[in-house]
C-alpha cells in the first residue's frame, strides 16, 4: 500500500512539472488533475497507467479495509485524491472543450471510468458470492431455526484460523482443508446447539439470555484468538492467490474468483440437500410447525441440532475462503455481523436464492463505494443497508411474509 501511495504521488509530481499541465490547469496548480495530464504525455505507455487505479480499486478493496490504521489512512488518502482529481477533471471538461488536448483526455477519461466501473462491478459480484458463503450459515440458523446466532462470524474466523494452521504448519491447501475440517465444525455446532437447547429453548422465553449467550461466545472466541495468535494479520499460501484472468479490460483475480465459485457450489449443495432429502425437508418444516414434525416421527430437537451443525460446518468453508481473500485477525468478525445480517434479512430469511442475490447486491455496492469514495467507508454501506432494509422492508426483497 505504501509503495502504491508513493507511485501515485510520483505521477502527480511529474504532471505538475510539465508546462502543458500548467496551461491546462489555469492557475489551479494545487489541484492538478493527474489523469488528463498523463494522457497528453504520449511517451508513456498509456494503457498501463490508465488501468492502474482501476485494478487497485477493485482488488485491494478488502485488503485495504482491514490494514492497520495508518495504512488504511494512506490508502484512503490516495483514493480520495484520485477521486477528487477525477471529479475536478470532469468538471473542467466543458470549460476547456475547444482545446484538442483536452478532447483526447476526455476520451481517455471516459474509458477510464468505464474500466473502473466494470472492474468494480465484477469484483463486487465476486465479493458478493463470497459474502453468500459467510451468510448461508445464518440463513439456516436465523432464517430457518429462528436462533439468533450473532456468533456466526466468530465461527467463520475460527474456520479461517484452522485453515491457516493447516496451511502454514502442514502445507495443505486452505480451501480443501476448510472442507475437510467441516465435520469437526459440525460436531462443534451440534454441541453448542445441545447447550443452547438445554439451557434456553426447553426453559422457554429466553430471548435476552440466548442473545447474550451468543454475544458472549462471540466475545470469548475473539479474546481467545487474540490470546493465542495475537492481533497480527495472518495469510495463507495457495497457487490461486496472486494471478488474475484478464477478459478485455476486465480483471478477474483468482483470489476472488475461486472463493466465489466454491461459495456457489456450497450453497448449491445445501439447496439440493434441503430440497431432496428427508432431513433437509424436515429442517425446512421444523421452524414452521414442530408439532406436525413430531407427528411425522421426527424429533424436532434432533433436526434442529443437525441443521445448526450444518450451519456451523458451513462456517469452516466460509472461513477458509475468507482467509484466501483477505488477511485475517481476530476482531474482523465484528465487521461481518452487520454484513451477514443485512444480507440475511434483505434476502428474506431462510431463502438461499435470495441470500445469493442480496449478497451480490451488497458486494457490488461496497465495491462501488470503496472504488469511488475510499475503502474506509465500505463498512458503513452494509450497516446502512441493514438499517434501511429493517426500516423499509423488514421481510426482505424476497421475503414471503
Amino acid at each position: 500500500v505504501t509503495a502504491r501511495a508513493g507511485h501515485e504521488t510520483r505521477i502527480t509530481g511529474r504532471a505538475a512539472d510539465t508546462d502543458q499541465t500548467a496551461s491546462f490547469a489555469e492557475g489551479q496548480s494545487q489541484a492538478v488533475p493527474p489523469q488528463p495530464s498523463q494522457s497528453t504525455d504520449l511517451t508513456q505507455p498509456a494503457g498501463q497507467r490508465k488501468l492502474a487505479p482501476a485494478l487497485e480499486g477493485s482488488s485491494i478493496t478488502l485488503l485495504a479495509s482491514r490494514t492497520p490504521a495508518h495504512c488504511a489512512q494512506q490508502t484512503q488518502g490516495t483514493f480520495l485524491m484520485w477521486a477528487n482529481n477525477f471529479r475536478k477533471a470532469t468538471s473542467q471538461r466543458s470549460r476547456h472543450s475547444p482545446d484538442y488536448r483536452v478532447e483526447t483526455s476526455q476520451a481517455k477519461l471516459m474509458d477510464l471510468s468505464f474500466d473502473l466501473l466494470g472492474n468494480a462491478l465484477v469484483s463486487g459480484l465476486l465479493l458478493g458470492g463470497f459474502y453468500a458463503a459467510v451468510t448461508i450459515g445464518v440463513s439456516i440458523s436465523f432464517g430457518m431455526l429462528d436462533i439468533v446466532n450473532i456468533a456466526h462470524p466468530a465461527f467463520v474466523i475460527l474456520g479461517s484460523y484452522t485453515a491457516y494452521i493447516a496451511n502454514s504448519d502442514f502445507g495443505f491447501d486452505p480451501v480443501l482443508s476448510g472442507i475437510a475440517l467441516s465435520p469437526a465444525f459440525y460436531l462443534l455446532g451440534t454441541t453448542i446447539y445441545y447447550v443452547y437447547d438445554v439451557s434456553f429453548e426447553r426453559r422457554g422465553d429466553a430471548s435476552i439470555r440466548s442473545l447474550a449467550f451468543f454475544f458472549g461466545i462471540l466475545f470469548i472466541s475473539e479474546v481467545a484468538l487474540v490470546l493465542v495468535f495475537g492481533v497480527d494479520y495472518r495469510l495463507v499460501d495457495a497457487p490461486y492467490i496472486g494471478p488474475s484472468l484478464h477478459i478485455g479490460v476486465i480483471d478477474l483475480p483468482l483470489r476472488l474468483l475461486v472463493p466465489c465459485l466454491i461459495s456457489l457450489a456450497l450453497i448449491g449443495t445445501l439447496q439440493l440437500f434441503m430440497s431432496y432429502t428427508f432431513i433437509g425437508r424436515a429442517i425446512q418444516a421444523v421452524a414452521q410447525d414442530p408439532i406436525a414434525l413430531r407427528l411425522m416421527a421426527a424429533d424436532p430437537s434432533r433436526i434442529k441440532r443437525i441443521a445448526f451443525g450444518l450451519s456451523i460446518a458451513s462456517a469452516s468453508i466460509a472461513g477458509a475462503i475468507l482467509i484466501v481473500i483477505q488477511p485475517v485477525e481476530p476482531s474482523i468478525a465484528r465487521d461481518y455481523i452487520g454484513r451477514i445480517f443485512a444480507i440475511c434479512v434483505m434476502g428474506g430469511l431462510g431463502s438461499f436464492g435470495g441470500t445469493v442475490v442480496a449478497a451480490m447486491t451488497l458486494g457490488v455496492m461496497e465495491s462501488l463505494t470503496s472504488t469511488f469514495y475510499g475503502p474506509s467507508w465500505s463498512p458503513a454501506v452494509a450497516f446502512g443497508f441493514l438499517l434501511i432494509t429493517l426500516a423499509v422492508r423488514p421481510a426482505g426483497l424476497f421475503g414471503r411474509r
Binding site: 450473532i150 450497516f383 423488514p394
Partner: protein, 309 residues
C-alpha cells in the same frame, strides 16, 4: 418521599465513598473507581431498556462514544464550557440518536432491534473514523486540566465526583421507574408485548422513552471519557468490551430490579480492575465473557435471584 429518602441515602453513601477514597491518598483509587462508577451508569442505563422492557441493546459502545465525541467537538469549539454542560450535550445527542434508532426498528421483533444496534455501532464508528475534525482514525488529544475547578484536589477527583453524582442520578431514575406506572408498562412489554398492546399500553411510545433515556444516560457516561483518557481514538471509544461489560453486568447481577446492575457493575468492574493489574487486560476480558455465558446458562436470575428464592 421514598425516592427522596433513597436519593439522600445514596448521596451519603457516595460522599462516604469519596471521603474514603481521599483518605487512601493514592490517585489510582480514583482512576479505578471512576471506571467502576462509569460501569454502574452504563449497566443501569442498559437495564432500563434491556432489563425492564426486554430489548437487548448491543450498541452501548456507540451511545457511549457519541457522548465522548460530543465532548471532543465541544472541547475544540467552546473549550470554556464546564464539564456538566458537555455531559448534558452528550446525553442529548445520544438520546436523540437512540430515539431515531428506536423509531426505525422498535416496531419490529426485538431481535431486529438488537441487530440494528450492533449495526449502528459500526456506522457511527465509520463516520467518526472518517471525520477529520475529531481526529479521524488517528484519534484526538485532550489536555486534562491540572486541578479540580470546584474543590481543592486533582482533576481526576473532580471526574470521580461527577461520575459519582451521575451514577447516583441514574440509579435513582432506574429505581423510580421501577416503582412507577412507566415501570409497570415496561414490564408488561417484556412479559407479553401483544397482551400489553391489547390492554391499552402505548408500547411504541414506552419503548421509545426507554431507548432515549437509556441512550441518553450512556451518552452522559461517555462524555467525561476524553478528559479521563486524554487521548481518544475510534477503536478504543467504540470498543466491543463496553458492550460486553454493560450486558454482562446486569445479567450477572440480575435484570429485574435496579439493584442487579449495581451489584453486577461493582463486582465485575472491581474484578476487572484487579485482574487487569494482577494478570492481564485480555484475560480479564476473557473472564467477563466466560462469566456472562456461565451466568446466562446457570443462573438466569442473576445474583439478586439467589436471595429472592
Amino acid at each position: 418521599v421514598r425516592n427522596v429518602r433513597f436519593i439522600l441515602i445514596s448521596l451519603v453513601v457516595g460522599s462516604v465513598t469519596f471521603t474514603v477514597a481521599r483518605l487512601i491518598e493514592n490517585a489510582y483509587v480514583f482512576f479505578a473507581g471512576y471506571v467502576v462508577l462509569q460501569y454502574i451508569v452504563l449497566a443501569t442505563a442498559w437495564n432500563i431498556l434491556g432489563g425492564y422492557t426486554g430489548y437487548v441493546n448491543f450498541g452501548t459502545a456507540a451511545f457511549f462514544a457519541l457522548g465522548a465525541y460530543t465532548t471532543v467537538v465541544l472541547h475544540k469549539t467552546v473549550p470554556f464550557l464546564p464539564l456538566p454542560a458537555m455531559m448534558l450535550a452528550g446525553g442529548l445527542i445520544s438520546g436523540i440518536i437512540g430515539l431515531g434508532m428506536g423509531y426505525l426498528t422498535l416496531r419490529l421483533r426485538g431481535t431486529f432491534f438488537s441487530i440494528a444496534t450492533l449495526a449502528m455501532a459500526v456506522v457511527a464508528q465509520t463516520l467518526i473514523t472518517n471525520w477529520n475534525f475529531v481526529g479521524g482514525s488517528r484519534g484526538a488529544y485532550i489536555i486534562r486540566p491540572a486541578d479540580s475547578p470546584i474543590f481543592p484536589g486533582d482533576y481526576i477527583q473532580y471526574l470521580f465526583v461527577v461520575m459519582l453524582l451521575l451514577s447516583v442520578t441514574s440509579v435513582s431514575i432506574a429505581r423510580a421507574i421501577q416503582h412507577s406506572r412507566l415501570g409497570y408498562g415496561f414490564s408488561a412489554i417484556r412479559d407479553d408485548e401483544l397482551a400489553a398492546e391489547a390492554s391499552g399500553v402505548p408500547t411504541l411510545r414506552l419503548k421509545l422513552i426507554a431507548t432515549a433515556l437509556s441512550g441518553g444516560l450512556m451518552g452522559m457516561a461517555g462524555a467525561p471519557l476524553p478528559y479521563y483518557v486524554t487521548y481518544l481514538d475510534p477503536a478504543s471509544g467504540f470498543s466491543l468490551s463496553y458492550a460486553v461489560n454493560t450486558i454482562a453486568m446486569p445479567l450477572i447481577g440480575g435484570t429485574a430490579t435496579w439493584l442487579g446492575p449495581v451489584i453486577g457493575a461493582i463486582l465485575l468492574g472491581t474484578l476487572q480492575q484487579v485482574a487487569t493489574v494482577t494478570i492481564s487486560s485480555a484475560l480479564s476480558l476473557l473472564l467477563v465473557g466466560l462469566l456472562l455465558v456461565g451466568f446466562v446458562i446457570a443462573a438466569p436470575k442473576g445474583i439478586v435471584g439467589w436471595f429472592k428464592r
